[in-house]
Symmetry: C2
């Protein structure tokens, strides 16, 4: 019986047992290492060089063709030709590893392969002669075939082919989208290969520039979605789109995306023409508007979207200024009010492979909540309104310089901090939640949401009592005063503000309550709560628990995962396999329509109370 | 052992032997009959009704659901459910046959299936409810799936989907290109389904409007290719394209195609938006220019094209005004000087299935010649120049009213006929060949091409002698005179004209000679010569043989097949399977480059002589 031998790969130390006679390339694959083999492992390209630290096999004919005598002497071999006879230690140079080597994306705990659908392949194409008059395109396709790649050419690629072929003596770089050549460039341009990933929020659009050769995020930029001038929330935009404004809303968001692309390219010092793919996600309405598709029926019962699945289109069809030969991908939606941004969160948090019971909460103008494991997922949407983003709050503002963002009561005195430590000018969403949590703790807000008056708490510390005032709008609590707190102006929390917050948190809390009930679990069963979105990233976990926005779990089970929706887009750009995963998630996650439920109003009313 | 039974289908009488227990649907398929089975043969649509003339099986549950009692009584059964037990005779109503029933295309001897890649499917889509919130696109795809069609939707189709769905109560017509929905229309628009098929000639562009529901050619129109103002032949156009004129040439030909589409739509009284496909062919240069692809290298050794294979693109990418959601297909080329028009001829003449040894000759500004059987094909191109189209001939003109098109000598007198019987104003290509053939027979032109003088033939009839004159250009033969023949002006054949014709026919004859030699056969071995192209259609076979333009075969072996290139485009529009056949033909036909051959000049010089 043929024996098994042990092969250890450096520098990571993976060991595998393989039958003697197997090649080092196969052994590496078993060890999870994908080597660079443009020729498909046929010994013709010399790409899969490895160094035998021990037990180097006899050099093969192909080794002698591709390697120098001193390399052979040093134990270098082509992995695809090297047959293993004995236990070996093999060192794999970084240049031999395929770009797919695993890496960790900061902010979320998910490893993905760097395996973009967009690739560049540099090759030397055979020149035609009177004896071999193959067309340019056939020559290129035959050249790619020799590298193990079956390909077709797009019409656009044919346009640039003859010039590119003859620019540098038939040395060209083919830009591929999977098996289609979408563009051909003269010479070796393989170093310049970028994609952009976007999260199109109702309020903010965030874009990232990705170097597809390294997987690195080279630049990030954000801008306010200019659609806000047509309405703060999705429902008002849908209504505007239905009144003939679809073109304007589409133009506004694509214009914003183009400005961000411009920002990113400038920051990284690259040409926009070397960006060959844009992957975008957004809530269902944002995705529709970005693609120029009428979202009218999302806002009318029974609230259906035009499309659910991922959409692939061209830069020209949406008006995006990357390489005109590039590709545009929009992540799939789940339902009318659970969009590709939530699918992006599920991708980033790896719901497809999670055995733990988790809940992801993305709080924005709309709140989207997903609960589940890889085998069962439920999701729902809650119309929180813009309170968390500072709107409809008397002194509310976005999270910008001068916004009060944390509030504590220490030794009977109110302690606030502002963004950039500037004099207080207003209150952002995180500050709002902190304020209410602190006042609840201090007994200044009752569980019904009522703000007590100073008279009712004669024994309370003076610094708190003096802040309880009444103005023309009714009772208020002064958070920062120009005279006593050095604020830029008086910033107060009003009774009305508290009611707005109760409505917003009530909507989310109700959705969470119903999801838990439908899933058949209690809050305590949750292994983890993932807080996504810019707002979720800055919120105080304790305050969120205090006001009942999040269900009752130990604070350490709450993880803030940042702009996970944007990360979802990014992952799809980096690993083409994830688009299929996104598609499956969008089908597997069952959407719970709260509007149709008999129990919703009751749960919502209860949820408006504070714990 | 289970026995075989005999099933005979009416009205055509096909008989097949199948195992007992097989369904009538399967038996029909074996007999080459495709029945109408939108549900995929699952007994749910009732589409595959047939009438058992004998041995009707017991009616099934599905029969009772879909058929009336009197129908069952009359032997009607659903073919997909009817299990055959005994020898049967089954009558297939025309309505049960799929649209693919065979039919004959006039002008060429080839039957094709009506199986266009563009189809319309009318269906009622399920309306969403709060309990079933599937997106519009998912509802449509699920509806199509129920009809046995797996489909995806293009971005453009998503754009028109919500409006179309709600225009007529979720009654829609999906326009499909194979498995992709490219457009959705409200209500039942399945009656309006058209394609255009084009032959883009160097001189003339011909377009046909096809009703894809019936396969009928509803209108045909032709216009002069406006590129002629940038040069008469492909080489001068390639040169102009290389000097920055590519955009102009592209715009000229697409403008012409659009005008023809407009002509066709007006003639048929249909909207251009109901034309969903354009299939085009042309010589390699015309195909490149139509697609906006630089043809420069076609004209420089080693004469290579940018593309060989078929190109699929969008109306917007080429600027063609059919439905913006439609598709454009350009037939594959063979080589730089054998284009999609020749592949069209090969398709029309069914070279892929021919066992006879045939030669197809398409004479235009360029002559393309193919010789072979289905198992071996050789082709070559001959630069005939524009003589056959009347250019460079002193009194030459295109085949238009007043052109002399036939010439005979009867009883010592010259007899001519003109197009539309109008007074002679010039000489078209067919007339030129007739004239030279007649003068060769009468001994007025020698085999070297020399025109004799009247003095040399004192005994010849006076009507011929008086026509032999000398003018400032040299010797001429007057074909029509205003005074004696009622011509509009003097039309004469000059010695120079004869030299031009010798060059043109010499090029084609030389190519034919070398092809026969390479193929290893003699002219007499040819079972058939197919003459394609407008010129080939009107030429006198006897005159063509007389001057040596065609190799020496009995005239009855010469068949004129009209605009076979255009027919090739038409066939691809009608039967999607033929694009693959075209692709195979374009790879299988070996191109013989005459420019590189040592024997070419010698054969060419000999070929200029007359037999």
């Amino acid at each position: 019986m043929r024996g098994f031998i042990k092969v250890t790969f450096q520098p990571l130390g993976q060991s595998v047992y393989v039958p003697a006679g197997e090649t080092a390339l196969d052994a590496a694959l078993e060890g999870g290492l994908e080597l660079h083999t443009p020729c498909g492992g046929h010994g013709t390209c010399g790409g899969c060089r490895v160094v035998f630290v021990s037990a180097a096999p006899e050099p093969t004919r192909e080794d002698r063709t591709h390697l120098s005598e001193s390399e052979i002497e040093a134990g270098v071999r082509l992995a695809c030709r090297a047959k293993l006879a004995d236990d070996s230690v093999i060192s794999v140079p970084e240049t031999t590893l395929r770009k797919d080597s695993k890496f960790l994306l900061h902010g979320i705990m998910r490893e993905v392969a760097l395996r973009p659908s967009i690739e560049k392949i540099h090759l030397r194409v055979t020149e035609a002669t009177l004896e071999d008059q193959r067309a340019d395109a056939d020559m290129l396709m035959d050249g790619l075939k020799a590298l193990g790649r079956e390909a077709t050419l797009s019409h656009a690629a044919l346009g640039c082919l003859p010039g590119a072929l003859r620019a540098e003596g038939h040395n060209v770089t083919a830009v591929m989208d999977d098996s289609e050549v979408i563009c051909v460039e003269g010479g070796d341009t393989s170093g310049a290969l970028y994609a952009v990933a976007f999260d199109i929020g109702t309020t903010t659009v965030v874009g990232m520039l990705l170097d597809l050769n390294t997987g690195a995020e080279v630049a990030v930029a954000a801008r306010t979605n200019p659609q806000v001038s047509y309405g703060d929330d999705v429902v008002s935009r849908i209504s505007y789109a239905g009144d003939g404004g679809l073109g304007k809303l589409h133009g506004a968001v694509t214009g914003c995306v183009n400005e961000i692309i411009d920002d990113l390219a400038k920051e990284a010092g690259i040409s926009r023409r070397s960006i060959y793919q844009a992957v975008l996600c957004g809530n269902t309405t944002m995705s529709h508007l970005f693609l120029g598709i009428e979202p009218t029926y999302v806002a009318q019962a029974p609230y259906v979207a035009v499309f659910r699945g991922a959409v692939r289109t061209s830069p020209a069809a949406v008006g995006i200024e990357i390489s005109p030969d590039g590709r545009v991908v929009v992540l799939p939606n789940v339902a009318g009010f659970i969009g590709g941004d939530t699918v992006g969160v599920m991708l980033a948090a790896d719901f497809a492979h999670s055995e733990k019971l988790r809940m992801a909460v993305d709080i924005g103008t709309n709140g989207e909540i997903v609960i589940g494991t890889s085998t069962r997922m439920l999701c729902a949407s809650a119309a929180a309104g813009p309170a968390f983003e500072g709107a409809r709050i008397r002194h509310g503002m976005r999270a910008a310089a001068g916004a009060i963002e944390t509030i504590r009561i220490e030794d009977g005195r109110l302690v606030i901090s502002t963004i950039n430590d500037e004099p207080a000018v207003g209150l952002c969403g995180t500050g709002l939640i902190d304020a209410v949590a602190a006042l609840l703790d201090a007994g200044l807000i009752e569980s019904t949401g009522r703000l007590v008056s100073a008279d009712e708490i004669p024994d309370a510390p003076e610094d708190l009592r003096r802040r309880l005032q009444v103005n023309s709008t009714g009772p208020i609590f002064v958070l920062a005063d120009p005279e006593t707190d050095g604020a830029a102006r008086q910033v107060a929390l009003s009774q009305r503000d508290i009611r707005e917050l109760q409505l917003a948190k009530g909507a989310i809390q109700a959705a969470i309550t119903i999801l838990l009930k439908e899933y058949g679990v209690a809050a305590g069963d949750l292994d983890e709560i993932l807080l996504a979105g810019a707002f979720g990233n800055y919120i105080s976990r304790e305050s969120a628990l205090r006001i009942g926005l999040l269900p009752d779990v130990p604070p350490e089970r709450i993880t803030q995962i940042g702009n996970a929706a944007g990360t979802g887009s990014k992952l799809v750009a980096l690993d083409k396999g994830l688009l299929e995963e996104a598609e499956r998630l969008s089908l597997d996650a069952r959407y719970l329509e709260l509007a149709g439920r008999a129990d919703f109003q009751g749960v919502f009313a209860e949820s408006m109370m504070f714990p």
